[in-house]
Amino acid sequence: MATPIDLHEVAERELEDQARYPWRIKACGSTACQSAGAGASISTLESEVVAVGLSDSVRVMSTGCMGLCSRGPLVRVLRRGGEETMYQSVDRDVAVDIVGAVAGRGEVADANRIDRHIPFFTRQHRVVLANAGIIDPDRLASAVAHGAYSALEKAITTMTPDQVVEAIKASGLRGRGGAGYPVGAKWSLLAGASSDQKYVIANGDEGDPGAYMDRTVMEDDPHRVIEGLAIAAYATGATRGYIYVRAEYPKAVERLDRAIRAARRSRLLGRKVLGSDFDFEVQVRIGAGAFVCGEETALIASIEGRRGNPRLRPPYPTESGLFGMPSMINNVETLANIPAIVSKGANWFSSIGTDRSTGTKVFALAGDLTNTGLIEVPMGISLREIVEDMGGGVPDGKVFKAAQTGGPSGGCIPTQFMDTSVDYESLRELGSIMGSGGLIVMDEDTSMPEVARFFMEFCMDESCGKCVPCRAGTVQLHGLLDRICSGEGRPGDLGLLEELCTVVRETSLCGLGQSAPNPVVSTLHYFRDEYESLLQEAAHA
């Protein structure tokens, strides 16, 4: 058996190695920048460094997402002991200029420089994404140099499982998968279950169409997810873990697989983790295209190789889950918070955010916004700060109409609530939810009944078909919305729409059906006039 890794030694060696280069050029190699041409700019950076004879002093590396996806390809240049500069829209020509500037010949055009002091960067508080865009996700040493697995080591060597559970409870961390269930409470349920075999599962299904936080964490810092899951297993007495990743994220699967193999070789996983008595094996499981498989009982069915039909709870997975054994499902972002809590302490964590929503939240900003991309902000920040300051507001002189959070299970927040604090309770009061972190901004041109129809079509397509209210109800809701939107609505349609929303919400089996009416209810609440004028037009046609 290989000897366990000495984390400090590996970290030191890696840092020394990095210090050999006075200059480091980090280029974002994640999907968004790739599709904007990062592949070509990275190879240009590499060949230019050789061409100008700087191979010994400049190191070019490809990293994960740097956040401001709409301006990619992004590149950062770091000088030992000095300032760092960030560049946008780096095509081949700009890449040549960047290397030229490093070599002291010429400059990069101002239009390609990004001011690091804009609110998009300064208002962020990076915990989950601390290493994204900084480390090389394919190298364990690079992650270890930035602290990976030190929390696992601390937990195993200095804390009892109970103490870990207590620390998570004290941190106030709530589930980032949507519902906001207190994480420590869930952990103690699993810890309290008596069974020879228990499972912990990371939910990386990320089904909300318009969100890619979990993808970024899995691709750019896979070791953080694995470490969080291992700590969860240690705290709850589980010995096996699964990471369920949607099949649309092949790169995340590849990186997690590679990270697991590297961690196992270094005895960070497997039998006798870090030489202790704790055993933990992890496997990646791939979905096959089904939104409902993000629901925990459907996810379990899918790991077991069955149709992803949810089942009634109770019994909860912590009593009877995967293969009938006590199991716990946590979202990827939830787990990615764990190492920092264990390392820096519950008090540090709960000092971020609000009283009841502690810590940070990652949001995927998209839609009609100047700056789109990924941000991590403290809970309790106002929607206005996110949209206007960080997002740069609505472009093309258009007017903001609403922000949608929570995807197909969420709702729309109109302009009069821009100053709302972004936390679990405040969003719920407005008829939306925190959701997993998709935040889509819509401008004045957006038709809200159309938005409702869009989400209902999604739910109709994604319904598993098991229970009648969701299977047949979403079809009829979609039919009603379709006819209203295409100007063929009939008198009484709004009443029927509302009544059916209530039935589907109150009688569906799982969260998909129960929350499918939310976008309709929310847009009816804030934008009823749009529905009414469509119906009036129909009446006069």
């Binding site: 089904a290 149709r307 089942r311 009634l312 109770p314 109709m460 397509d461 994604e462 319904s463 598993c464 078909g465 098991k466 229970c467 009648v468 209210p469 299977r471 047949a472 109800g473 979403t474 079809v475 009829q476 039919g479 029927l496 009544e499 059916l500 039935v503 109150e506 009688t507 569906s508 089996l509 129960q514």
Partner: protein
Amino acid sequence: MPEVRRSIAITIDDTEIDAYEGESILQAARRFGIKIPSMCYLEGLSVWGACRICVVEVAGQHQPRPACATLVVEDMEVRTNTARLQSHRRTILELLFAEGNHVCAVCVSNGNCELQDRAVEAGMDHVRFDYRNPLRPVDATHPKYVFDPNRCIVCTRCVRVCDEIEGAHVWDVASRGHQAHLVTELGQPWGRSSSCTWCGKCVASCPTGALFYQGSAVGESVHAPDLVARLVAARRDHEWFPPVESPTSPNEQNGDDR
């Protein structure tokens, strides 16, 4: 061997009853003659909990709960027939009628159909939703039985009885959402299925006219949903009670079910 079961006091519609531990609200209610409508539930099979006709209100919970899938707990207070529940059940039935092609006047199960009975009880006299009129070809290739998917409500009673009682697992649900439909084996005609044992339990268990014997005329098909509970009880207790009525085979020339 009858086990000793702890009893649990609950109230259903103001009547106090002694339910058993591990029993569902539906089972407890039925033992005391309290009617709660059901469709996908069949005594003797695993609980599927999907039709949602059996929803009841439980004090302290704002969402209605399915009676078939909710276990009794001490001091539970259940209401089975509030105005809200009646209205929800009517709507769910309307959804089912709009979803398939249910033309009772020409159906073999007319008068012997659980869907029809539930609709009558619930006072569902018209459907406010657009009929979807799906195109679903009838499968009459099996020498003994017919599957008419137009009348199928995807309750999966046939799937479960074939898997759990007969052990053949001929049926399953394919696709998902509103496309979900029943298939035998890889979706080929039932008559070509090599795993079907011709036992007829799926036909006996079907709540509607979706599964019936070849040659049945309008209103002739009678199901035998109690068959399953009887088989399960006999297997468990080693006590055999002769059936009150034999499971129906309208055509004697169909011969014995093997």
